[in-house]
């Protein structure tokens, strides 16, 4: 079974306890009413669908209940890093970015 390190539990936990929660590092506009329809649509719907290393939100829904961020390789399904929301995307060797 795939193990995912929860940054709040500070331990590896089975994948079954987690739920994927979309793309990470997408900031909601402070004033949505001031955003053009095109930009708002982009915020809501446009995703990169990267083949390789991608930053995602995950939810330890059947554990501590917290959301966190993860760098995952969409080709190999390897988790390269998990980190608390609000923290910058970490530099991971081989992650390209």
């Amino acid at each position: 079974m795939l193990l995912i390190r929860c940054p709040f539990c500070r331990m590896e936990r089975p994948e079954l306890e987690f739920r994927h929660a979309g793309a990470a590092h997408r900031l909601r506009p402070a004033d949505p009413a001031a955003v053009s329809d095109r930009d708002w649509g982009e915020f809501l719907h446009d995703r990169d669908n990267i083949r390789g290393i991608t930053a995602e939100r995950w939810h330890h829904v059947h554990g501590c209940g917290r959301f966190f961020n993860a760098l995952r390789d969409t080709v190999s399904d390897v988790f390269l890093a998990t980190y608390e929301p609000g923290a910058p995307r970490p530099d991971v060797p081989g992650a390209g970015q």
Partner: protein, 191 residues
């Protein structure tokens, strides 16, 4: 940290009883309080209870279950604490905690009827739990004193280890028949 059956459970027939293998008993008469608050509120809670604050996925306790004054405090999330105590002491505990923490932001919710709890004990408990729980229950990975939320098949559970061969398991009230049936199936599959 042996946990003797409380007077309530002693009167209940075990849900599973195979001597030298495993025993499953319901736990009755428990009060359950969820506490969430800022660190200063937590500190006052700990002082009011006379308990150290547990780290995440750990429990601390005082006294034995069912005894007057017995308390168990567990941390299931970074700021999510669950207090177990004899049901008859709920009202006085709520009053004491509310008074101790009044000056600090916190919530205190009585969730006594949300869960049903069980004792699972015997040499086969880890093997039975492994039939439906994805956690590593080796004592090095899940030591005595660990307490965490997880899954048993499709049911969300709270699981904590009181002794090497003694676990407590709780689930939402409506999931309890499913949990008991699945534990029974796991036990049967082991022969």
């Amino acid at each position: 940290m042996d946990e003797a059956p409380s007077p309530e459970t002693a009167e209940m027939p075990p849900l599973l009883n195979r001597p030298g293998f495993a025993r499953l008993l319901p736990v009755l008469g428990l009060g359950r309080l969820v506490f969430r608050g800022v660190p200063a509120a937590e500190a006052r809670l700990g002082a009011a209870l006379g308990l150290a604050l547990p780290a995440i996925n750990r429990m601390v306790h005082r006294g034995e279950r069912g005894e007057p004054g017995a308390r168990a405090l567990m941390r299931f999330g970074p700021d999510e604490l669950l207090l177990l105590l004899p049901r008859g002491e709920l009202e006085s505990a709520i009053a004491a905690i509310s008074q101790a923490c009044a000056a600090e932001p916190h919530i205190l919710v009585d969730v006594s009827d949300r869960h049903l709890g069980f004792v699972l004990e015997g040499p086969a408990v880890a093997a039975i739990l492994h039939s439906g729980c994805p956690l590593d229950l080796d004592p090095r990975a899940f030591p005595v004193g660990m307490a965490t939320r997880s899954l048993f098949h499709k049911a969300e559970i709270l699981l904590w280890r009181i002794a090497p061969m003694l676990f407590r398991i709780e689930t939402g009230r409506s999931f309890a028949p499913y949990l008991v049936a699945q534990i029974g199936a796991g036990a049967r599959d082991l022969g």
